[in-house]
């Protein structure tokens, strides 16, 4: 924009800054509110008027990871003192940990396992999609491929398929071959989904690496593969990292396939967390703590990725 000069422009500029700050508050309130709720004692979570100031507690997180039941009466001080810290937090939340009658061990809730599933499925599918995507992008970038534009369109179009449309036949096929509710089944779906994205983005990154680098290496007696691994890959490392983070976030956030293709063993966190709202006593602090833990990695990654967001969201078409 032009330099601010006149008095009128100064006022406009100030007004714009105020408006931006207001927008920021409105846009971030939902995220801040769910974060605040994750650290509230249960009795303050659903008050009218809303509780803004409170003493934060980790008790929702302790409750999130354990199976528990309502405390009828306050727990005795001796029992409380003897309990480990996480169990004390559950007591603080007005509940007690459900223990196995024989072994006396605490029963975990389903959350830990679902979170782990999310990690496994997202990481493995990201590694697969990015490695396949990178070499395919290199192939499209450096060699003449007959019908190149058509193939690239085909690859992108697979990304645009609505998950539900693919899920109906995939469900039947997975059921037939025993891939329903398995990690591998979900990994395949997420890899396919991210692969097209990885090819498009990586092609943009590799196109930007000057061909002269490889040509020089080829003249020096490198084979094509050596030139790819020793010259191109190191140059493309930033792009690969950005692509990987994008793929991870997509897989991590995915809901529809996980809802339709898993039920217990391989279920990820996104279909699990909402299913807890209706079950028995809905405790918003616990749901909020699960949501917080689930959104935290994405928030961190968004900051790491901030300079590549434009490129990623436009499939590499707009690079600034």
């Amino acid at each position: 924009m032009a330099e601010v000069k006149t008095k009128g422009e100064v006022i406009v500029n100030r007004a714009a800054i105020v408006a931006v700050m207001l927008a920021l508050v409105v846009m971030l309130t939902p995220i801040l509110w769910i974060t605040a709720t994750a650290f509230k004692p249960r009795n303050l979570a659903t008050t009218v008027p809303p509780t803004v100031m409170f003493e934060p507690t980790l008790s929702p997180f302790a409750k999130l990871f354990t199976k528990r039941s309502q405390l009828r009466e306050p727990v005795e001080q001796e029992v409380y003192d003897a309990a480990p810290w996480w169990e004390q937090l559950v007591f603080d939340g007005g509940e007690q940990v459900v223990r196995n009658k024989k072994t006396g061990e605490a029963t975990p809730s389903g959350f830990g396992g679902r979170y782990l599933n999310s990690l496994i499925v997202s990481i493995v599918s990201t590694v697969l999609a990015v490695s396949m995507g990178t070499i395919t992008a290199y192939g499209f970038s450096r060699f003449r491929v007959p019908g190149e534009q058509d193939w690239l369109f085909f690859i992108l179009s697979t990304r645009m398929l609505p998950p539900i449309v693919v899920a109906i036949p995939m469900f039947l096929m997975y059921r037939a071959v025993g891939l329903y509710d398995t990690h591998i089944g979900l990994i395949i779906l997420y890899t396919a989904f991210n692969l097209s994205f990885a090819v498009w983005i990586m092609k943009g990154f590799i196109d930007e690496i000057p061909r002269e680098y490889e040509e020089a290496a080829l003249v020096d007696g490198y084979t094509r593969l050596q030139a790819f691994f020793k010259i191109v890959l190191p140059e493309a490392l930033t792009g690969i990292a950005a692509t990987a983070v994008f793929c991870f976030i997509t897989a991590w956030n995915e809901y529809a396939f996980a809802l339709m293709m898993t039920s217990r063993n391989a279920q990820t966190a996104p279909p699990y967390i909402p299913s807890q709202v209706g079950s028995g006593l809905s405790d918003w602090t616990v749901i909020a703590s699960g949501t917080f833990l689930f959104l935290l990695p994405v928030a961190i990654f968004t900051f790491l990725l901030r300079n590549h967001l434009l490129r990623g969201m436009s499939f590499g078409a707009i690079r600034k």
Binding site: G133, G139, V145, I164, L172, G221, N253, I273, T302, M313
Partner: protein, 300 residues
């Protein structure tokens, strides 16, 4: 022989040691194509077959070929048309909202602002989050008795999600909240690409702010804005995640939700495959337009 940029001298040591360029090209590209065909195209061919049957995945009964009966029934079902109408309304509301909010934010941000980078990143946060989980926590915000939206707006016990008239707007508002940042991000890129000398020339000519906006800013941002609009239209048409979680009313039953219920709750596998194909044709049409614009933007 593949036509490559640098041909290896066939007599060189490197050429003798390594694979030929054509082998490498094929090794690098074919697995990806095969993978996508097996896991995306093949299932669609399979469901093209089930679309012409009365198959139900919940029973052991074999599928009977029924011809075009599924398509005939779907296209003459007023409920399905209602789903399409609701979805069209949803697409218009969300995309319009996102363009207004997103482009507006971009116009506000397109100046010298302290901590601009940080503010922009924070504003972009909603679009990176999981739509399903976003839907879930908006349920808390929308709650009629203790939700903060009713409290701050002083609406008492207003039922955002349970009122048939309001529910679609409430679901659309969540979409607008999530995806306005996307329009903002693309608009910012468009705005920053407008050459400064155009504004300077306009100033010398004493052009008013409206003239400057409609004759300089808007036409130059339009191509990128168009990409944002088509992409959001396509995505809004497919909306499932947060809408499914927030939806309690028939008035919020978007196409994807209806399709999910038909396939996985009512187990009308054959019928839902036919429905999926109708949806697919619409999606492919929008995708075609989208890719055309993407290539245009790339060519610039």
């Amino acid at each position: 022989m593949a036509d490559v940029i640098t041909r290896l001298d066939p007599t060189s040591r490197a050429a003798a040691r390594g694979f030929s360029d054509m082998t490498i090209r094929n090794l690098f590209i074919i697995p990806t194509i095969v993978f996508l065909i097996v896991f995306n195209v093949f299932p669609l061919i399979y469901s093209l077959w089930t679309a012409f049957t009365d198959y139900r995945a919940s029973t052991a009964a074999a599928a009977n070929f029924v011809g075009l009966a599924n398509f005939r029934e779907l296209l003459s079902d007023p409920d399905i048309w209602r789903n399409f109408t609701i979805t069209a309304k949803y697409v218009v509301i969300t995309v319009t909202g996102q363009v207004i909010v997103g482009f507006g934010l971009a116009m506000l941000l397109n100046r010298k602002i302290p901590l601009k980078g940080l503010i922009t990143t924070l504003l972009l946060l909603p679009m990176m989050l999981s739509p399903a989980v976003v839907g879930l926590f908006w349920k808390l915000l929308y709650d009629p008795s203790f939700g903060i939206i009713n409290y701050f707006l002083g609406l008492g016990k207003f039922e955002w999600l349970a009122q048939p008239q309001m529910a679609l707007w409430a679901v659309a508002l969540v979409d607008i909240w999530m995806w306005s940042p996307f329009v903002m991000l693309l608009s910012l890129a468009g705005l920053s690409a407008v050459p400064k000398h155009l504004y300077e020339a306009a100033e010398i000519d004493r052009a008013g702010p409206f003239y400057t906006f409609f004759r300089i800013t808007l036409p130059l941002v339009a191509p990128i804005l168009m990409i944002a609009i088509i992409f959001r239209t396509m995505e809004a048409f497919k909306t499932f995640d947060h809408a499914y979680i927030l939806s309690t009313q028939p008035t919020t039953e978007l196409i994807a939700i209806r399709l999910y219920k038909m396939a996985f709750l009512e187990w009308q596998t054959g019928m839902s495959s036919a429905f999926a194909y109708i949806v697919l044709i619409v999606v492919v049409a929008i995708t075609n337009i989208y890719v055309k614009y993407l290539n245009k933007a790339k060519a610039r």
